[in-house]
């Protein structure tokens, strides 16, 4: 039994070690939380030593010591070379500091230092954790010996993508700018559109390892307090290693996980986000993501495109109705085809029935299998088209459309009618302006196809009923997802099925979101009767 005695301490130790790991993990990840919550020391030497040990002597951590010998200096400047604008640091931080230290100015050194640094944003901090967060986000830190505070100068730089045209939410008429990965650029794009001091920004840092900046934006006086508090609360509860895109935040804070429908909008268009803010929505901007989130949202918002508001109301309304129909086609057409050809042939007019029957003659698969095969083939082609290098992307569409489709029909594997159904369904799916919603529609389509193949129209209706109940019970940050349709809000129907002319949209379309409902004066109100001055008699 001696071996057991030797093994026992190992088991005990490993159990304890595991517990300690999990405890530290639940608090601050790999760093000891005490390191980060500790205050800065008065001794510059001690501060530098702690920072160096925290960074493990990273190669891109630059430490410049001024006003004395190395190790005994008066001022230190720290930054990560990879993410700062070096030219900016040299010109606006280093040069004044050198002058300051050489000049040996008297009086209050800290206030002199503030005046000396010609940078716009200078943050004062006394915690090691704050210092770390700023340095990791491209700030340059200035530490002064004998002072337990540090200064962070905004010097964020490094290589970034410039503002380009949106890639997934294009319009023919309207602004052509899109968000980038830089939170500052994105904030600039929004601030340039909404020039009011009521546009409020609140900042969060989320992610134990990534320490990602997440900003929430809203317009005070328009936004409702309840969803705003909900957004703040949910963001502050996120405790995760990394936030690499707004998609992470979306999944953490949305109301319901088990749904195919998106409960938050995302947009890469600053104009769309600005419009959302003006309707009382809250924007969530995540550093590193070109997609800004909007909450709360409703089902109908996913069928509204930015362009609806830039072009004439009549064509915009027509296109919107087309989008709703396309959504229905996208989820229902293959399942209806399966149900009708398998169970309810009597529904079809006789000539059409004969035509379909002759096409299906010799096809070895039932309609359900035939449809599933074609739909899955299309999904494979679509996925391949996204992943393939752009130069060969067009080849994929040729292979898919011509070779596979035509060959499959000629080989007698699928009917021509099925090719038409699948193609039209696919095209209809692309009409939906939101990719999140169109992805949801793709999933629902497969479920409905299976139901149609087993129970015909009864199966489709069962599926639709579950879907409908699910939809009306969804909420986005407390706002019913199907409003203004269910529950019905008559006053908000001006921007649902159609978009009425701007002068008639006196109130904001989604009253559930905001306090201030009125958004325009009466100067352009459409007169109901010919204008006449008071007392003027008709001829």
């Amino acid at each position: 039994m001696r071996w057991f005695g030797h093994m026992l301490p190992f088991f005990r130790r490993s159990g304890r070690a595991k517990r300690q790991d999990s405890e530290s993990g639940s608090r601050q990840g790999p760093r000891d939380s005490e390191d980060l919550t500790a205050s800065l020391s008065r001794s510059l030497k001690k501060n530098l030593s702690r920072i160096r040990s925290l960074f493990g002597d990273s190669a891109d951590l630059t430490v410049r010591e001024l006003g004395g010998r190395p190790g005994d200096s008066e001022v230190s400047v720290l930054y990560l070379e990879s993410i700062v604008d070096s030219d900016f640091v040299n010109r606006y931080v280093m040069t004044p500091l050198v002058e300051w230290t050489v000049g040996r100015l008297h009086g209050d050194r800290i206030s002199r230092l503030r005046e000396t640094l010609p940078v716009g944003r200078l943050v004062e901090m006394d915690k090691m954790g704050d210092l770390l967060t700023h340095i990791l986000n491209g700030y340059t830190i200035v530490l002064v010996d004998g002072t337990p505070v540090g200064f962070a100068a905004s010097t964020t730089g490094g290589e970034r993508r410039s503002v380009e045209e949106p890639s997934s939410q294009t319009v023919t008429r309207g602004p052509k700018e899109s968000f980038t990965e830089s939170i500052l650029t994105n904030m600039t794009l929004l601030r340039r559109r909404i020039k009011t001091p009521d546009l409020r920004v609140e900042s969060f840092t989320i992610g134990r390892q990534t320490r990602t900046f997440v900003n929430i934006l809203y317009i005070d006086g328009i936004v409702l307090e309840k969803p705003l508090m909900e957004v703040r609360d949910r963001l502050s509860r996120i405790d995760v290693d990394s936030i690499l895109d707004s998609g992470y935040v979306e999944e953490y804070i949305q109301d319901e996980l088990w749904t195919p429908f998106p409960l938050m909008q995302n947009s890469e268009r600053p104009d769309a986000v600005a419009a959302g803010l003006l309707e009382g929505q809250i924007a969530i901007v995540v550093d590193g993501s070109p997609f800004v989130l909007l909450a709360p949202t409703t089902f109908v918002k996913f069928f509204q495109s930015s362009e609806d508001y830039y072009q004439r109301y009549d064509i915009a309304s027509f296109l919107r109705i087309i989008r709703y129909i396309s959504f229905l086609v996208s989820i229902l057409l293959p399942s209806l085809y399966i149900a009708v050809t398998t169970f309810h042939q009597e529904m079809l007019p006789t000539p059409l029935l004969i035509s379909l029957a002759s096409q299906r003659e010799g096809i070895p698969f039932p309609a359900l299998v035939e449809a599933l095969l074609m739909e899955l083939t299309f999904e494979v082609l679509r996925e391949a088209g996204v992943r393939m290098p752009r130069v060969v992307g067009s080849a994929i569409s040729i292979v898919g459309a011509l070779v596979l489709g035509q060959a499959a029909v000629q080989a007698g594997l699928v009917s021509a009618a099925m090719i038409i159904v699948v193609s039209f369904t696919a095209i209809a799916n692309f009409v939906i302006p939101s990719t999140n919603m169109s992805s949801g529609a793709r999933l629902i389509r497969f479920v409905l196809m299976l139901l149609a193949g087993t129970l015909g129209l009864f199966g489709i209706m069962s599926g639709l009923m579950v879907l409908l109940i699910h939809l009306v019970s969804l909420k986005s940050f407390g706002v019913p997802y199907m409003t203004p349709l269910a529950p019905i809000v008559w006053g908000n129907m001006k921007d649902v099925w159609v978009r009425v002319p701007w002068p008639l949209m006196k109130t904001r379309p989604t009253a559930h979101f905001q306090r201030n409902k009125i958004r325009q004066g009466n100067s352009f109100a459409v007169p109901s009767k010919p204008d006449r001055k008071k007392g003027e008699k008709s001829p």
Partner: protein
């Protein structure tokens, strides 16, 4: 549950509870009694239904916001009586759900899916109903409003499209039957209208429970109006004799609609729309049973296990408890008596009992003082 049901939603819920099965069965049943005077019978029973709705609505309006019906009852009639009433009503809603489900699947099987085993169809329906009941009354109310608003233009359209096939003389001679026969012909529809008793369960979750009576009355009025229009439409197109020989006259009526050579056989679309209303109706009944059970038994756990158990029981009951060739007249006979007793007499008895016990408590309190 929160108090979010509006008056409009209450009316729509009442309509959804009554209309879906009534629309199929009532035309034939009433015409069997009073032939071309069926519409007068329906008019009379609608007026009766309004009185019933008002009485039950007033009783429901006494409920406290957010307090379930059964719990409210225990405050007025005592725990034991309230528990018995809760269990009895739960049994009623379960039973009526089972009967309605059986009728629904019999219809689906006859009209759409002849070769699919009924037990499979019933199983699939029970799954949908369980999901509906799990989500509570609010989603059902929201969809009910949508369906109500859709049904009105659809009915108007069907009347317009069958105008050319109508013969106005089909309802002559008007008032041929005695008033006693006409009143008796209205008994079956009155049974259906008494399903307005669902308002007792809805009222506590209304934004203003006091408006329960208005919601109930409006629900019955709208239902009655739609039924009268449908019966008149059937009468004008087919005449009383033909309707009596038809199993489901409304389906045959919609089947007549043709626009040119390309829009025909629209009865399948009618059935599809109608199916959605039946799903909701059955969902309301299952919700009623589950809600009453969980409030009466004071379940210490969430709704899911109870839902699963009751759902399985419903599937078994509806699959094996009814003969496969159950006569529709038999069903109608049973249900009318049951509907009137459970929806009308029982709640009214509870209301009277509650009043009496409340009065005696007050008297005791006064004596003590």
């Amino acid at each position: 549950m929160t108090q979010n049901v509006t008056k409009l939603q209450c009316a729509a819920l009442v309509m959804t509870t009554i209309l879906p099965t009534a629309v199929l069965i009532l035309p034939k049943t009433v015409m069997n009694s009073v032939a071309q005077d069926a519409w007068i019978s329906l008019l009379v029973s609608t007026l009766g239904g309004v009185i019933v709705a008002f009485a039950l609505g007033r009783f429901a309006a006494r409920s406290k916001g957010g307090v379930p019906f059964q719990k409210g009852l225990s405050e007025s009639t005592g725990r034991v009586l309230a528990a018995l009433a809760g269990l009895a009503l739960a049994a009623y809603y379960f039973s009526i759900a089972s009967i309605a489900l059986h009728e629904f699947i019999t219809f689906i099987s006859a009209e759409m899916l002849e070769y699919t085993p009924k037990i499979v169809l019933k199983g699939a329906t029970v799954l949908v109903l369980m999901y509906i009941a799990a989500r509570g009354i609010e989603p059902i109310a929201r969809i009910s409003v949508l369906l109500m608003l859709t049904s009105i233009p659809l009915l108007a359209l069907s009347v317009l499209l069958t105008l050319s096939k109508m013969t106005w003389r089909q309802i002559e001679p008007v008032g041929e039957h005695s008033w006693t026969s006409i009143a008796l012909g209205g008994v079956t529809p009155l049974g259906w209208f008494s399903e307005v008793a669902i308002v007792l369960l809805i009222a506590p979750y209304m934004t203003r429970p006091k408006e329960a009576a208005k919601g109930a009355v409006w629900g019955v009025l709208l239902t009655g109006a739609e039924l009268i229009v449908m019966v008149l439409q059937s009468l004008f197109v087919f005449g009383p004799n033909l309707v009596r020989s038809m199993e489901y006259s409304m389906v045959d009526l919609v089947g007549l609609i043709e626009v040119g050579n390309f829009v025909e056989r629209v009865e399948v679309f009618f059935i599809t729309f109608w199916m959605s209303t039946v799903f909701l109706k059955l969902g309301i009944f299952l919700f009623g049973a589950i809600h009453l059970l969980e409030t009466t038994l004071k379940m210490p756990f969430n709704r899911s296990p109870l839902l699963l158990g009751v759902g399985l029981l419903l599937w078994a009951d509806t699959s094996y408890n009814w003969p496969h060739d159950m006569n529709q007249d038999l069903t109608t006979g049973i249900t009318t008596a049951m509907l009137l007793v459970c929806n009308l007499l029982f709640p009214l008895a509870l209301a009277v009992l509650g009043r009496l016990m409340g009065a005696s408590k007050q008297a005791e309190g006064g004596a003590d003082a």
